[in-house]
């Protein structure tokens, strides 16, 4: 996501990355990744926002998931290595695109490690959210 971070702002929107560890872990991770200033890095230690967004928490999806294993192997082949886990290891991720009206115009529920929509998909969803905003 980091290589595409500026594109969200150039497209008239913003990018926020939400994790679930403690703020110090979020800060350390954000500095390590090197997000540009426009990106908000947030954390939800209670995981309340994850629950309200409908994202899953599952040991099975984390450990016994063939699709995730394939993504793990592919990521390693491309040189990406997972560091020490900070946060709930069983929490799954996801993505939302939300218009200023509060309408959720896009929702992606992750079903295991590495299961996230592509930056291109998110940019497309962002453009649609802008259309919703200008129509309202």
């Amino acid at each position: 996501m980091r290589p595409h971070a500026e594109e969200f702002e150039r497209s008239g929107g913003k990018l926020a990355v939400v994790g679930n560890g403690w703020p110090a872990a979020a800060k350390s991770w954000a500095e390590h990744v090197g997000f540009p200033p426009g990106v908000q890095v947030l954390t939800d230690p209670s995981r309340k926002a994850y629950d309200l967004a409908g994202f899953k928490r599952s040991v099975v999806l984390t450990l016994f998931n063939p699709a995730s294993l394939a993504r793990f192997v592919r990521a390693n082949l491309h040189g990406f290595r997972q560091g020490r886990v900070a946060g709930d290891p069983w929490q799954q991720g996801g993505a939302l695109v939300v218009a200023p009206s509060g309408k959720v115009t896009y929702r992606y529920v992750g079903f295991g490690p590495g299961d996230q929509p592509s930056p291109g998909k998110l940019l497309e969803a962002l453009r649609k959210a802008q259309a919703v905003g200008s129509a309202g």
């Binding site: 969200f8 947030l42 230690p45 926002a49 709930d88 993505a95 695109v97 200023p100």
Partner: protein, 36 residues
């Protein structure tokens, strides 16, 4: 409770109402599994 009313924290530990993220312009929120 609505998603917009969920309270998260920034990297300095300050509380932030999630709805403030998309108040001014559309926002993409990527929820990661964990840091690392």
């Amino acid at each position: 409770m609505e998603l917009a009313d969920a309270v998260v924290k920034d990297t300095e530990g300050r509380d932030l109402r999630l709805g403030d993220v998309w108040r001014d312009k559309p926002a993409v929120l990527v929820f990661v599994r964990h840091y690392g």
